[in-house]
């Protein structure tokens, strides 16, 4: 008997009892769906939690401050910083040469007035009478916008500014809150225009200080939560550096805390989470304070791994139960087809031909159930994620996004098929051992 004949025989057997076959496939599909959905949701939740811990940046990200390290804080995720210490290009180059460092990304900041005509801010640092007005004092945070995915930045509305743009910015919920804009209303600011004013101090002829601003217009293209630097406006390096230059060229110092540092900080990405401790130690040896949530991430990863093991176990148990259904269905088929099997044997079919036919039948049901279940499971995971995403974004938080776990999908289908074949082995062996005389006796 050829493979084609075996397939034909298996298909005929399935189609002869469609109800039983359908129920068997549904059982496998439900188990596969449960398995896929649980693991997809677990992976999504893990990604969300770790992303939250890394503030949207890479897990192996290390923040370097323009400050000396405090020796007593070695190994602490968020240590207190020592005295201010400028980060110059030489320091950047030294850090970039540290073994285990993948990339060093500069962060620049500039003091700036933020004017939003038509909106009124209240509270501290508002330039106006009674701490109320449309102009607030804040900081611009400049990063390489083409590498935003490497920074601890999470987008909650709109999009990121185009790389190199000097007229597009993102703003933070903290800045918007100063204008009384919170929650879902933050989305409405996308497309608005704000005016940014870099201050410069001049000494007038009589010695009194006068401040003038270098004003630029910018369109808000998104709302972000960012930990790259301290400031309410995220912009391109070129925009922030231009403001920095203007302010620094003044007769009066605007921000002595900056200590003349060309960089407000650095974001260093290590080659993997394991390299983070050694890279941090090396950077601190160079003379700068670092912070990274490495200990927290490691702890959370351990707990999440335990959860994954438990969920995988539940899924495997469900698939095993479904496989027992296949065993049961095939045993019933063997009982009903004793005469047919006897006839096959009588006309020359060998034991292995009968065995192959039943294993193919089991495998087909397992594979079909696995495919349907995987698709169902992914759809279910997306549905749950959409509900969670809707809730989070309604709260003004970053949403969740489910990626399609192709490896998991393939593994589920293959696993369901293998389990089904294994479950069909017993009835197949029983069928193969039936003697040809069964056809006559029955």
């Amino acid at each position: 008997m050829s493979w084609a004949d075996a397939f034909r025989l298996a298909a005929r057997s399935v189609l002869r009892r469609p109800g039983r076959a359908a129920l068997t496939v549904v059982a496998v599909a439900l188990a596969a769906a449960l398995f896929t959905a649980m693991l997809t949701m677990a992976a999504t939740a893990q990604g969300r939690v770790l992303n939250q811990l890394a503030k949207g940046g890479p897990l192996a990200g290390i923040q370097v401050a323009a400050a000396a390290p405090d020796p007593s804080q070695a190994g602490v995720d968020n240590p207190t910083r020592g005295a201010a210490k400028p980060i110059d290009q030489a320091a950047v180059d030294r850090i970039a040469r540290i073994p285990g460092v993948d990339v060093v990304l500069p962060i620049v900041t500039a003091e700036s007035l933020v004017a939003w005509p038509g909106h009124t801010a209240t509270g501290g640092n508002v330039v106006g009478p009674n701490n109320s007005g449309s102009v607030v004092f804040d900081q611009l945070v400049g990063v390489n916008l083409s590498r935003l995915s490497d920074f601890p930045v999470t987008l909650s509305a709109g999009r990121f500014p185009s790389p190199g743009s000097v007229t597009q910015v993102d703003v933070t919920p903290v800045l918007l809150a100063r204008y009384g804009i919170t929650g879902t209303r933050t989305r409405s600011v996308v497309g608005s225009q704000i005016i940014l004013g870099a201050p410069r101090g001049f000494r007038s002829a009589d010695g009194t200080p006068v401040f003038r601003s270098r004003w630029t217009k910018a369109t808000i293209v998104g709302v972000v939560t960012q930990q790259a630097g301290s400031g309410g406006v995220l912009a391109s390096l070129s925009l922030v550096r231009a403001d920095q230059r203007w302010t620094a060229a003044g007769d009066l110092s605007v921000d002595p805390d900056a200590a003349g540092s060309p960089y407000a900080g650095l974001f260093v990405i290590a080659r993997g989470l394991d390299a983070v401790p050694s890279v941090r130690a090396a950077i601190e040896a160079v003379g700068y304070s670092t912070s990274a949530p490495e200990n927290l991430i490691a702890t959370v990863e351990r707990y999440v791994h335990v959860v994954e093991i438990v969920l995988t176990g539940i899924g495997v148990i469900a698939l095993a139960i479904a496989s027992l259904g296949i065993t049961n269905a095939l045993l019933a088929a063997v009982r009903e087809r004793r005469r047919e099997i006897g006839i096959l044997k009588a006309v020359g079919a060998r034991d292995r031909d009968v065995l192959r036919s039943f294993l193919i039948e089991a495998g087909v049901m397992g594979a079909l159930g696995g495919v349907i279940g995987t698709v169902l499971g992914l759809a279910l995971a997306r549905l749950v994620a959409a509900i969670v995403d809707g809730y989070l974004t309604s709260q003004g938080l970053a949403g969740v996004h489910v990626s399609t776990p192709y490896q998991l999908a393939v593994a589920t289908v293959v696993g369901a098929t293998v389990l089904a074949v294994a479950a069909g082995a017993l009835p197949a062996r029983r069928a193969a051992r039936l003697p040809a005389r069964e056809a006559v006796e029955l």
Binding site: L113, A115, P117, N125, V127, G128, G133, S134, V135, F137, G158, R159, P161, S162, P163, G164, S165, V166, T167, Q168, Q193, I195, G197, P199, G201, R203, A205, P209, V210, F211, R212, S213, R214, W215, T216, K217, T219, V221, S238, A249, D251, L252, S253, V254, D255, P256, D257, I372, T374, V375, L376, L378, A379, R382, H401, T404
Partner: protein, 311 residues
């Protein structure tokens, strides 16, 4: 339900599930191009009128700020170099260097009031203005120069004409103003000097004389603030619009004619004229708070202790 129909229904459901499972989250994209190229740098050279004295919010309502926001492209940069009470002679030493160091590509010059009040002769004014415009034009900047508004036509003028120290109904009259004929003659001489200097240097003349006269004739909203000494917010809008209309097409931002501010300006021109006692001729008021002064005062009071130190 036939077996064929059942199969087609099942196939459809499976297809939908496959599509749902394989769908990707849509990302927001923008078709608006990002601006990364060279920028228009605008510097305002002027006196009290240019720093926002008398407006509701000097940092945002000063006419150069309004001109910058509505008449210049999105990528433009703006520095307000104006100093209250500045004459043309002052501006040559105090403001022109800033325009030069900022590599200004567009400069507005509106310096009339202080020279008028100081009694600078028209010939001297013409010479000094020519020097200023030449220095600005030498940098390759597009220069827009405004002429004198019709001071004698402003409703507050009669209240202050009798002389300083006799402010009428709350008005602050900084100096004794000449009689209408003398004032008109002086203003006319200044305007002729401004027009001649603009023509000689290739600068663009902005006819504020005509714009303000039209506004007054149509009973527009007060050009000056209630003190009578400074431009009101509406007056600043009117001046900004006049300068905006004079900007060359290649430099102009088209938003001015379509924004609500244009409507606001129209309403300025058509609103009923308030009582004459609420107005006065334009004049500098060194003691009032303008944008940069407000910023400086705020800075010193809020930032000095921790972050602000003169070096």
């Amino acid at each position: 339900m036939t077996a064929r129909r059942a199969r087609s229904v099942v196939a459809s459901v499976v297809l939908v599930l496959v599509l749902a499972a394989c769908g990707s989250t849509a990302t927001t994209t923008s078709t608006r191009p990002a601006v990364t190229g060279p920028r228009t740098t605008y510097v305002a050279v002027g006196g009290s009128d240019s720093v926002g004295n008398g407006t509701d919010d000097p940092l945002l309502d000063a006419w150069p700020q309004q001109f910058f926001r509505h008449s210049l492209p999105l990528e433009a940069v703006f520095v307000n170099a104006a100093v209250p009470g500045s004459t043309v002679a002052d501006a040559i030493t105090d403001q022109a260097p800033l325009a030069s160091s900022s590599r200004a590509t567009v400069v507005t010059v509106w310096l009339v009031s202080a020279d008028l009040l100081d009694g600078t002769p028209a010939s001297t004014y013409a010479t000094q203005l020519l020097q200023l415009l030449r220095s600005l034009r030498a940098q390759g900047a597009t220069v827009l120069v405004g002429n004198a508004p019709p001071l004698d036509q402003l409703p507050g003028y009669p209240a202050c004409r009798d002389g300083a120290g006799r402010p009428g109904r709350g008005l602050r009259c900084p100096v004794a103003l000449p009689d209408p004929a003398t004032l008109a003659a002086t203003t006319s001489a200044y305007d002729q000097a401004i027009a001649a200097d603009a023509a000689q240097t290739g600068s663009i003349l902005v006819d504020l004389q005509g714009a303000v006269a039209t506004s007054v004739a149509h009973g527009g909203a007060p050009f000056l603030d209630p003190s009578g000494a400074d431009l009101s917010t509406a007056g600043s809008t009117l001046v900004a619009q006049a300068f905006g209309d004079a900007v060359p097409a290649g430099t102009r931002h088209t938003a001015w004619s379509t924004t609500t501010d244009r409507s606001a300006t129209s309403s300025v021109l058509t609103r009923r004229k308030p009582a004459a006692s609420a107005r006065a001729p334009t004049a500098s008021a060194p003691t009032s708070t303008h944008g940069n002064q407000r910023l400086t005062a705020w800075w010193v009071s809020h930032r000095r202790s921790s972050r602000w130190t003169p070096d």
